[in-house]
């Protein structure tokens, strides 16, 4: 489907550039993104000139001219132009102000439906439930009946939820993102991302990054990103899905440590999924990251196992500290979007832990007493209506 066409001649060039850049990647946008940009485009076409007056006044002061910024063009030059401009902070404030004016009208068109976010910590964290989810404000603690075999915790909790949600609301409406391969293993319809399963593609990307860095072909991360734009996950499961192929590539290359640290991948992929695909169901399964090795850690894109004979060991305490922050980031990301406000149940759990934290609207109900995982699974299915 070709991108829609909008008349943006009246929109200041720095704002229009952002929008046009999104349209250029139309074939790699999720349905939720396309709907948003169609709403935004239609709104902007009819938007009064006053909405853009502060930006129109600011652009000449920034040195924006048809020569420095041709209409319809948005390249790294323009990105650098903005970043280095003395008035960049003011430009950001004006852009934020424009969106604050636009968003209520765009949000009003979004119909709410029950959503569910499950954040699952790994077994082996060196703390009890009293030290978990300390950055999440509010909610209630619920006692859980856990299986003796900890490896069954995640599968029992999620049992069929993601696939049923995907069957009802579309494949990009249900996601399982994890460091390992256990949570998503049985999925047939939902979107599944696994750090471990992407090992070959990650290795190829790291080799390319290392090669390019050694050759000195690029000046900085943005140029590197451009260079790697074509390096799609051909050998991964997303070869036939341009939307997910681009999502995976962008997640691994634009997410800082996502290539290197398993939990960073899960956090950034989850945040990006929430931001872009707006799934009704998302389960984020974190793991334990490895300790940093002497010397080889400085060579960030080298294969850490090959670079040193020092054995790889897990960093339990470090992982616990990392994840306390990531729980917060995933949770608060959803809260930024109208799709999730007031209709989302958040469940924070850890494999084998006999307590969870639940933040949910009043109509998300759970059976009383010690809660078995199958009962929790049923409550979640009822909430989603799947």
């Amino acid at each position: 489907m070709p991108p829609p066409h909008f008349d943006f001649e009246h929109v200041p060039v720095t704002f229009a550039a952002y929008f046009n850049e999104q349209l250029r990647g139309w074939e790699t946008l999720f349905p939720a993104e396309r709907e948003y940009f169609e709403r935004l485009g239609a709104y902007l076409e009819k938007a009064p000139a006053e909405l853009f007056a502060p930006l129109a006044a600011l652009e000449p002061r920034m040195g924006v001219t048809p020569k420095s910024w041709p209409r319809g063009r948005f390249t790294l030059e323009q990105v650098d132009f903005l970043n280095r401009n003395a008035l960049y902070p003011e430009w950001r404030r004006v852009i934020t102000s424009i969106f604050e004016s636009i968003n209520p009208a765009l949000d009003a068109a979004v119909k709410g439906k029950p959503r569910l976010l499950i954040v699952l910590g790994p077994a082996d964290l060196p703390v009890g439930p009293d030290r978990m989810w300390t950055r999440i404000k509010g909610g209630r603690r619920v006692a859980l009946q856990v299986p003796e075999d900890v490896s069954r915790f995640g599968p029992m909790l999620l049992d069929g939820l993601a696939d049923r949600c995907a069957a009802a609301r579309g494949p990009h409406s249900a996601w399982v993102v994890e460091t390992g391969e256990t949570l998503g293993a049985p999925l047939t319809q939902a979107t599944r991302l696994s750090y471990d399963r992407l090992k070959r593609y990650r290795g190829r990307l790291m080799e390319e990054v290392q090669k390019i860095a050694e050759k000195g072909e690029v000046r900085g991360p943005r140029q590197l990103g451009e260079k790697l734009r074509t390096l799609s996950p051909k050998d991964a499961e997303w070869a036939g899905d341009p939307v997910m192929a681009e999502f995976v590539r962008a997640t691994l290359l634009a997410g800082n440590g996502t290539l290197l640290v398993n939990n960073t991948f899960v956090e950034w992929a989850s945040v990006q999924a929430i931001r872009r695909a707006k799934p009704s169901f998302l389960a984020a399964g974190f793991g334990i990251r490895n300790k940093v090795k002497p010397f080889s850690s400085l060579l960030i894109f080298a294969d850490q196992d090959a670079a040193t004979p020092i054995p790889t060991t897990a960093d339990m305490l470090g992982s616990y500290v990392d994840l306390e922050v990531f729980y917060q980031y995933v949770w608060q990301e959803a809260g930024k979007y109208v799709e999730y406000r007031n209709n989302t149940a958040y469940l924070f759990l850890a494999e084998g832990m006999d307590e969870m934290l639940c933040l949910a609207p009043p109509d998300f109900t759970l059976p009383g007493g010690l809660l078995p995982l199958p009962a929790l699974n049923r409550a979640c299915a009822e909430w989603l209506g799947v």
């Binding site: 090959a306 470090g318 990531f326």
Partner: protein, 385 residues
């Protein structure tokens, strides 16, 4: 005629009549400092740390040394970075006294004269009297600007120890026969080879003898590198190496002007909060050890002012792209950090009044007794009264 030109001609006697008393006292202080051969060390507590993890009630546990030193110095609770939020531009703004908007990754020199150039040109200081020792490997151009009438002949020696270490490790990884990374001897040997071979390629800029490395410099740094490699702790950190090299430079060359760039905490980009906190605590320890050296080294004791500040913060946890991982949002958490001044001429105290990054070079210039030209920043008179 500019006011300061007038003052120069008129001298202190006339200045006493026309200047407000605090300003006059400040100027006299600066003149006294210069006469005493005052030294300045600027420490960028980097690369990128928020108040939340440092000088906040919950952050103090990460910085026990700085927290303990704070009462003996002057503390600015608000230190503003109003420029580009990249490491190079932020640090270049600190050392030039002007907001820099050059290439983010060090492919361009700062656009206006650095403090090093102004110092060396103004006082005809020697090439070993101003140094930049930086963990950030993109800082090769930090020592000298592209400004007319300044530039490389007046620049600082720039040493990038981490880049040197990286080259050595990379070489060993590629050539297994040379030894693996657990073999410190092999690494040291490779480091020494690099020092002998081609230092320019790994980030050295030594302004002596037609850009040839001085024998004394080479010997000193090779020895320091060996001590680092064979030290009691497993050397996992570029900042540790930067500290060791800095200490050797202080002991051997005793420069009057030194920029020490710590950078390990930029590991936050990897998305590990625990590694970020560990890096902060390590930088705190190294900064404390640097202060110990200042107090114990007879060439620095009682005549050195140390200015410690992050070159930038990191994004806040709320309403930003990804919180502590990045530092480009421009929010208060990113732009507003702190500055701690210690040592000679520094009064004790603290203030909420903001200081800007561009004020640092102007302050250092005053301490060194030079007339800084063309700086947007102003001397921080609070710490020098």
């Amino acid at each position: 005629m500019q006011t300061r030109d007038f003052l120069k001609l008129a001298g202190l006697t006339i200045a006493q009549r026309i200047l407000p008393a605090p300003l006059l006292a400040f100027w006299q202080q600066a003149a006294g400092a210069a006469a005493a051969g005052r030294k300045v060390i600027i420490v960028t507590f980097g690369g990128g740390v928020r108040k939340a993890e440092t000088f906040s009630p919950e952050g103090l546990r990460n910085i026990p040394r700085l927290a303990a030193l704070r009462p003996s110095g002057y503390f600015y609770r608000n230190c503003l970075n109003e420029g580009v939020l990249s490491h190079f531009n932020s640090t270049a703004s600190i050392v030039t006294g002007n907001w820099q908007r050059v290439d983010d990754f060090g492919f361009e020199a700062p656009g206006s004269a650095t403090l090093f150039e102004q110092y060396r040109k103004s006082l005809k200081a020697g090439p070993l009297d101003a140094w930049v020792i930086a963990t950030n490997k993109s800082f090769a151009a930090m020592g000298a600007s592209g400004a007319r009438e300044y530039g490389l002949p007046f620049g600082a020696n720039v040493v990038l120890p981490k880049q040197l270490l990286l080259e050595a490790i990379n070489d060993i990884v590629k050539k297994p026969a040379a030894g693996d990374l657990s073999d410190r001897g092999a690494v040291q040997q490779r480091l020494e080879t690099i020092l002998q071979e081609g230092y320019e390629g790994v980030g050295w800029t030594i302004f002596k003898g037609g850009r040839q490395m001085d024998k004394h410099v080479r010997t000193t740094l090779t020895r320091a590198m060996g001590e680092f490699i064979n030290g009691p702790e497993a050397p996992t950190s570029g900042d540790e190496l930067t500290f060791f090299i800095t200490r050797e430079v202080m002991r051997e060359f005793a420069p009057r002007l030194l920029l020490v760039n710590f950078w390990d905490m930029d590991v936050a980009h990897w998305g590990s909060y625990s590694l970020y906190l560990q890096a902060i605590t390590k930088t705190d320890r190294l900064t404390g050890m640097l202060w110990d050296e200042v107090r114990e080294n007879p060439k620095y004791k009682d005549n050195t002012t140390v200015l410690i500040l992050p070159e930038l913060g990191r994004d806040g946890d709320v309403n930003t792209a990804n919180g502590f991982l990045n530092h480009r949002s421009g929010d208060a958490s990113c732009r507003n950090t702190w500055l701690l001044a210690l040592g000679a001429g520094v009064t004790k105290g603290a203030t909420d009044t903001p200081i800007r990054h561009v004020d640092v070079a102007a302050t250092a210039a005053s301490i060194l007794g030079i007339r800084a030209e063309g700086m947007a920043g102003s001397p921080a008179k609070e710490i020098l009264v």
